[in-house]
Subunit: 639 residues, 2 copies
Amino acid sequence: MQFHHHGYVSGEPRVRDAAGSGIDRPAEVPDEMDVLIVGSGPAGMLLAAQMAQFPGVTTRIIERRDGRLVLGQADGIQPRSVETFQAFGFAERITAEAYNIAYMNFWGPDPENPRNIVRTVRTEDYAFKISEFPHLIVNQARVLDYFAEAAAHAPGRIVPDYGVEFLGLTVDDGAEHPVEVRVRYAAGPRAGEERTVRAKYVVGCDGARSGVREAIGRKHVGDFSAHAWGVMDVLVNTDFPDWRTKCAINSEAGNILHIPREGGYLSRMYIDLGEVAQDDHHHVRQTPIEEIIRRANDILHPYSLDVKQVAWHSVYEVGHRVTEKFDDVPVGEERTPRVFLAGDACHTHSAKAGQGMNVSMQDGFNLGWKLGHVLSGLSPSSLLTTYSAERQPVAQQLIDFDREWSSLMARKPEEISDPQDLATYYLATAEFPSGFMTQYGASMIVGDASHQSLAPGFPIGKRFTSVEVVRVCDGNVVHLGHHARADGRWRVYAFADAAAGAPADASPAGEPPALERWAEWMASPESPIMRHTPAGQDIDAVFDVKAIYQGPFEDVDISRVPELFRPRTGPLGLTDWEKVYAAGPSAWCTADIFAERELSRDGVVVVVRPDQYVAAVLPLSAPEELAAFFAQTMVRARQ
Amino acid sequence: MQFHHHGYVSGEPRVRDAAGSGIDRPAEVPDEMDVLIVGSGPAGMLLAAQMAQFPGVTTRIIERRDGRLVLGQADGIQPRSVETFQAFGFAERITAEAYNIAYMNFWGPDPENPRNIVRTVRTEDYAFKISEFPHLIVNQARVLDYFAEAAAHAPGRIVPDYGVEFLGLTVDDGAEHPVEVRVRYAAGPRAGEERTVRAKYVVGCDGARSGVREAIGRKHVGDFSAHAWGVMDVLVNTDFPDWRTKCAINSEAGNILHIPREGGYLSRMYIDLGEVAQDDHHHVRQTPIEEIIRRANDILHPYSLDVKQVAWHSVYEVGHRVTEKFDDVPVGEERTPRVFLAGDACHTHSAKAGQGMNVSMQDGFNLGWKLGHVLSGLSPSSLLTTYSAERQPVAQQLIDFDREWSSLMARKPEEISDPQDLATYYLATAEFPSGFMTQYGASMIVGDASHQSLAPGFPIGKRFTSVEVVRVCDGNVVHLGHHARADGRWRVYAFADAAAGAPADASPAGEPPALERWAEWMASPESPIMRHTPAGQDIDAVFDVKAIYQGPFEDVDISRVPELFRPRTGPLGLTDWEKVYAAGPSAWCTADIFAERELSRDGVVVVVRPDQYVAAVLPLSAPEELAAFFAQTMVRARQ
């Protein structure tokens, strides 16, 4: 965590100085704003926290509810989401209060007495096998609390406007604030009052029955399943030995997905309520909690639950639906999107795979920096067309995965030939439910694969997979990727050639190392830094450029590292010491990022987007390709 | 982290329900209270946070300053302190914002050009070699902030009473509140007003010039050194390559102890200002910052500092002094102590070894639970005599260590024969500066060593050294010791015999495993639980009893574990699942606590005090010895 660089900070360093629209931010929604977010669920709140990093942009977030979420809803947190929390600064805190999934156990009918269930297999959870982040369970309410804190503590000082309901919108592309939005106060002293406000962009994060989606005429495509599930968060005493372990329970009496929750006592159960008749007309949703508990006990036989408190319960029918496009531009038409959809507003599905909140948050993470860059004048508005292009296919994959997973879970015992079936599927697909399988295709912000062979371990279009490295200035072992916070900046990692950093007399005569030549070019007028960083801003305000040397950190003489990697920034012009790393080995570091990510020993440049996806892999020797890449997506900020 | 056991909690789980004196706690200092803490430094604030866990006790903490500490003072955090922060619930947060010491480098005169300094040796810091906790640097102000939060969020809801100055006290042992204290409002609307309040106990945490110490007539014993040091917290640009590494710099022009600080930019320098003449009369304290910076530059030659901001600076003369006793009972007399001293009020020394704040906090940790237990009626007031008996020798050791360390650091280059000298001393003594060397002698709360051979890895009188184990209920790998929070409870770890937990048919015929017999006895009327846990309280309210089985967690059938280790507690009578552990191995756990701590395979009981020190090591087969141990220090709460 870096601070004090604008002068000494005595208090909580996570609270940054207010800036721009965060200074004297009005308590009331203004008549005009840059971005209006509708809905404060996971997509909307992440987006608010991200926009608060762009205090030059005025953002508001309205929520019909009159205060914070108190109960229920999603709770599954995949490793990619914890990685995202890390970027927003609260991973360690939420992990400390969450339930960590170490195992998933599977239960089925006892072959000797099929009326009883028995544990058929224990499987180790996949999380720590594929990343340094855990697989957690924690109430959505707490996730929103942490994003709310991140938004409130960031320079833009964004806080949700509770008790304000979205009514409708119209887009007039000629106006400076093209979206006219009608809202109504749903709570507080102005309750019942209607207002019209105007925004440059509106983001509908308003859930499965999205009013924003309806207003732009987008349709959910897909089926309503005829299967119903009851869900309950309960405090119980029980003789079921796996009460604190995630389980899929498949019995003659039906199925349960069992999810232990944070705090050591509470668990959530998804209980199969069976097929729903065509003419049910959602009657199943009236199933009383007593009936859900009775079913649970029936499925768990010979074990039983003595329910002491029901914290929350609900009944829903599984639907798998996705909107064909996530913005308001009709297919085939080319103009700047003005209205976007994110989260449940554009994709709904079962809760079985624990994916919904996670995918919704990534919608917000994908869109946030793009809005920030366009509204800050760094990028052309065409950047915004990539949002739907990138996220709609991800939602479609999610629907497909979830449909398969929830049918597998809803099978009757006689349909199951191999009891290891579910466990095998669960582990084989680990990359998907971890959130790491998303790979964006080539576009103005994802380069082609022509130099992928220089860094096979950083697949272009997938999220940057961190490795531990040694920080040269102090010898601390740190995760290279964790230094990148959700601050809206591009990351440029310059992995050095073998000659760089070696003692001066060890370099081949007459030829400076490739890293030094690259660094020199990056200070020239044609470098993306010089072209796209607005005048008057810190040299690393848009591009955070880091060097990673091969070999032990003791071999790197930091006073000889190119100044590009030791920029002087902030009002005091202080040297930033945390942009120079070494691959190791060291006393504390056994990893070697060059070996683990198969990086070329001639060096390689890896460009990472503000939302942590690898955008380009380029040779150190061709810096003009880097310039060409950024020229596609950024405007020239200075001559 | 365990919560929801008193019913569902929607918000921040770290905020516990207010109870007892924490409900409707008056904003104003009352006329009478149980405990009055004078001073809100590290000793006082830890003590306040600890007392807030005893809401049946009324505690106030007064501080002359009109608000939180803003600047300066101590910053070194030894691993034992991080362990303590863990118990108070904020280790992960403060670690995330602190500077982690990975290396300590030593600099000396360049043999070829003695006017210049050169790096002579790099040493890896000791922290991770001796525990799972780091060695940190972070501003004392932040440490106090976190303790203040812990105190405010605990059931007692304690917040400091700022702007209240201690004037004096008298003790009248006949009264119900024997200590009469005079205070004056130093700030706020009542500024200047004097009051008399009464307390059962007063703790002087009021620093080196302690008024409480003076009031009870205790004297600081020791010397004033004739060596002066300047200290500054500065933001600079520099070509000194180790600006971000802890260094001891020994040059012809003097010495510097260089301490990088949190945030990536700031560092603290202790700069040798040389011998102080006998007739200086503290004139050296007037040394201007410009002179301190000039000296620093001189010592660093050929490197130099371009100081951009001085956050804080001070000059002090090194003293090594300790009070002969830390309470108000004269040597040789036997009565209940009523006034205690903690922190700088009873031991002062140089800042060189980074120990002061750490030892002060342990004073508070040692005293807090004792006050809590006596005032809650669990223990006789004689328990309070152990405070001075245990802590005064620790302070004496600290003085001795610091005197040696600071003389080593203040040597002139010509006095140093081996440049590795300092480095060797630094590493050889690692256990002391880590805070782990303290070993309390036998007393009413520290048992004798007669059964030490059952658990050589848990030395009696030293702090409990945690090892990773597997939580049986969910297969998570957790540090056994980290489950113990600073909640004032005794811990009793029952390490199982090999027969326990094995499948029923594997037990020797006719003889239940020793663990089961022990558990059965612990439910009998003669067990300490039954004797000393007040009626009406949860069965684990005073003794937190855990079982640790040998072998993999999959082999433990939790439904067959004795109910002692699965107590039902809280208003809902919910099963606590987090008291049953296994040594491993498992997919995620390579540690084996039985092997690492050399525990008897016949099982062993390890008793740990509320301040985390091992109090007793006893055989499973002699539970009456456990009863005898607790009978020394606890009153019989029920018949």
